[in-house]
């Protein structure tokens, strides 16, 4: 068993872990101490792409390798350590891109059915966002019926996944210079299905054996995710469920209620969660809960399903990735639903120690022992009510003597879609990123950082996020955040406007006070990293900060990453021109050449590059140093005297 204080920087998590230990329940914090990571696999030195292997090609430890040794360090097929490390990395990108984009495909299919009127429980909620999409996709608006516009938008979006030729449509949203870079490099992506299939083909035995070529296609594949799959998902979800606007919410295990039926919605897709929100407010369901002795129904989210309903409805969040088992060990959860991604298989084992029912809801993600109720969008609300009723019926089975709900949950203000940031900075009639750019130019805000990604049990829960984000905002860097990172920031109390007074540097604080925003903006779920791409593009297009994303005083980070999705996200940020630092571990350390290519040579072509740093303070300082470098290149690194030009000076200008 792990030392409780070592597992997290969050007191609530420590208390909940102690409770789990007391109950004799094994959690991720225990498993991580008994399973050591394989050092060969961790550095990308293991190839198991054919049955002649697996081949292990680790570099010698603590000494220089001779050229002869290096020449012998190959797999049975002759694949070098470089090819093997690049293949492994590229396959991580492909898997991550697949996860986001398969999520997106489900959303697009539901959207199209809803547009055609085939789903009674889904509709077009954000008409304006639909027009926005229609204009992007070249769909005629005029006086056409809303339904016709929506159907055409849905059909075009769905066709994007399998686009065989040309390039995905949303690529044209990027700054013009960025589009040119992609086209010149030949990495403007086609549909994500094609790029992922090609990535898997190239990394099959005996195909692409030039690590630079493999890694450039990895960049292309990731772009098909960031500017394709993920962006489609974000946009269609906004049309169906509403574009997020500022809303107050709460986060951490303390949101569970002792006298309510507690239901945890875990996973990534917003379809069932949206239905659960509606069902939980149904007077009949509330009456039914009361008839079973409960005071009400309390929904709580986990992982990105939580972010989706938090951003749109203010539904509280129980926690992030590493807290999923602890939600159950409180003993207060009647039912947990899971759909896809980041749900631990151990959940069923943990649930079996309590009265909690674990329900899988997606045919793609079953868990042995868990009950499966397929979510069918044709009867979305009906399925949600069925699940809700099961939870209510299970309330009577709760053993109140085994319940321990931590007292604390933190307030936060969320809902910062790029449209809302635009509106907040300028208002209805002059919505603009100009105030942000001006405050970057005048130095109040030093730069912008995207801090995103997962939790990783190999590091103390939330600690890297807390340290890195505090370091950034202390140095006047505005932080945009998504996914588990956003929840960590919320749990640390960094997502209220008041947090700027306590943690932000003077410049950032003055801007946060003027606009009324927190110093750390919750932008959404992991597919919503596409919103950060859009915000960065708006900053470029507004002017004064260069003409490409790579010119911006900006950087990205995932200090506690663990999933392949995080690698895909990082790769599409790098391929879009962003300096991106990852923590914990780096998957190509076994090949110096591959690592150097990703960390240095990518910059020559993509104008963005990766970096790795385990220490979150040093990582934040690397980001700040990059921001300062960009400020210098833009000529905004020094305060300039303001000169009022008189006519004489103007004439001099004209003459010049």
């Amino acid at each position: 068993m792990a030392e409780a204080k070592a597992v997290s920087v969050d007191q609530v998590t420590i208390e909940a872990y102690e409770k789990a230990k007391g109950d004799g329940v094994e959690t991720v914090f225990d498993r991580v101490s008994r399973i050591k990571p394989c050092p060969i696999g961790a550095g990308g030195a293991c190839c198991k792409n054919c049955a002649m292997g697996p081949c292990r090609v680790p570099a010698p430890k603590n000494r220089e390798e001779t050229p002869e040794e290096k020449a012998k360090r190959t797999g049975v097929c002759g694949a070098t350590a470089e090819t093997i490390a690049a293949r492994n990395f590229a396959r991580m990108v492909a898997a991550g891109a697949s996860a986001h984009s398969d999520h997106a495909r489900g959303v697009a299919e539901t959207f199209l059915k809803a547009a055609k009127g085939e789903l009674k429980d889904f509709a077009i909620k954000d008409e304006q966002k639909l027009y926005q999409l229609a204009m992007d996709l070249g769909v005629e608006i005029d006086d056409r019926d809303l339904k016709d516009i929506a159907v055409e938008v849905g059909e075009i979006c769905l066709a994007e996944f399998g686009k065989q030729e040309g390039e995905i449509i949303f690529l044209k949203r990027a700054p013009l210079k960025r589009q040119e870079i992609w086209r010149n490099l030949g990495i403007a992506p086609r549909g994500v299905d094609r790029e992922v299939v090609e990535m898997l083909h190239r990394t099959h035995i005996g195909v692409d054996q030039d690590y630079e070529n493999i890694l450039m296609h990895a960049a292309r594949t990731s772009l098909a995710d960031g500017w394709g799959g993920s962006m489609i998902s974000t946009e269609l979800q906004d049309v169906m469920f509403g574009t997020p606007e500022p809303v107050a919410g709460r986060v951490n295990l303390g949101i569970l209620k002792k006298d309510h039926v507690n239901i945890i919605i875990h996973g990534h897709e917003p379809l069932l969660p949206e239905m659960m929100v509606i069902a939980s407010q149904d007077p009949e369901m509330l009456k039914y809960a009361e008839s079973k002795g409960a005071k009400g129904i309390n929904l709580g989210g986990l992982c990105c399903s939580a972010n989706e309903i938090l951003m749109r409805h203010g539904i509280p969040v129980a926690g992030n990735f590493l807290q999923q088992e602890l939600a159950i060990t409180t003993g207060a959860v009647e039912l947990m639903t899971v759909d896809v991604q980041c749900q631990m298989e151990s959940l069923q084992q943990v649930a079996s120690c309590y009265h909690t029912k674990l329900i899988t809801t997606d045919r793609r993600a079953r868990i042995e022992g868990a009950q499966h109720i397929q979510f069918e969008e044709e009867r979305g609300l009906e399925v949600a009510k069925e699940i809700l009723k099961m939870a209510i019926d299970n309330f009577a089975n709760r053993n109140q003597d085994r319940v321990m709900i931590p007292d604390e949950s933190k307030e936060m203000v969320v809902g910062f879609s790029h449209e809302t940031i635009n509106y907040l900075l300028g208002g209805m009639f002059r919505a603009s990123y100009r105030p942000l750019n001006d405050n970057i130019i005048n130095g109040r805000i030093r730069g912008v950082a995207g801090v995103v990604g997962c939790n990783n049990a190999r590091v103390q829960h939330n600690s890297n996020f807390m340290v890195m984000i505090k370091e950034l905002i202390k140095n006047d860097v505005l932080v945009l955040t998504t996914g588990c990172s956003a929840m960590a920031a919320g749990e640390m109390g960094l997502m209220t406007p008041e947090a700027a007074l306590e943690y932000a540097g003077d410049g950032l604080r003055s801007v946060c006070e003027a606009v009324g925003i927190p110093p750390v903006l919750h932008v959404g779920s992991c597919v919503d990293n596409s919103r950060i791409l859009m915000a960065a593009t708006a900053m470029v297009k507004d002017g004064g900060l260069g003409d490409d994303i790579s010119d911006l005083p900006a950087a990205g980070a995932a200090p506690e990453w663990m999933s392949e999705k995080a690698i895909s996200i990082g790769e599409y940020f790098v391929a879009s021109g962003v300096f991106t630092v990852f923590g914990v571990t780096w998957p190509t350390t076994n090949s110096e050449a591959v690592t150097k290519y990703l960390f240095e040579k990518y910059e020559d072509s993509l104008k963005g590059m990766w970096a790795f740093e385990q220490d979150p303070v040093k990582a934040a300082q690397m980001m700040i140093a990059h921001i300062d470098k960009k400020r210098k290149e833009l000529g905004i690194d020094k305060a300039r005297e303001r000169i009022l030009y008189d006519m004489e000076k103007r004439r001099e200008l004209d003459a010049a």
């Binding site: 954000d126 008409e127 304006q128 027009y131 926005q132 204009m135 992007d136 608006i141 949203r173 700054p175 013009l176 210079k177 574009t243 606007e245 500022p246 809303v247 107050a248 919410g249 709460r250 203010g314 539904i315 509280p316 809902g415 449209e419 809302t420 635009n422 509106y423 300028g426 209805m428 009639f429 002059r430 919505a431 603009s432 990123y433 009324g516 593009t537 708006a538 470029v540 297009k541 507004d542 002017g543 004064g544 900060l545 260069g546 003409d547």
Partner: protein
């Protein structure tokens, strides 16, 4: 749309006048309560499209493209 409120005031000469009262909306929301629906104020298709051309001008304006205008005129 915002519902305008008026209140009655008295001028120094005693005349009663009706003046516009506070029209701001409450700035704070609580979980579960109605949030500020700024997009909902754009009530017609025409308004929505006009907003896109101005508010989201980075992508939809026909006459202004920010920093990119200099190099790639529309």
């Amino acid at each position: 749309m915002v519902e305008y409120k008026y209140e009655e005031k008295e001028l120094p000469d005693g005349t009663k006048v009706k003046v516009l009262a506070d029209t701001f909306e409450p700035g704070e929301t609580e979980p579960g309560k109605e949030k500020i629906d700024w997009r909902g104020r754009l009530f017609s298709r025409d308004w929505k499209l006009k907003y896109l051309q101005t508010g989201e001008r980075y992508w939809f304006s026909k006459s202004w493209y920010g920093s990119e205008k200099r190099k790639n005129p529309a």
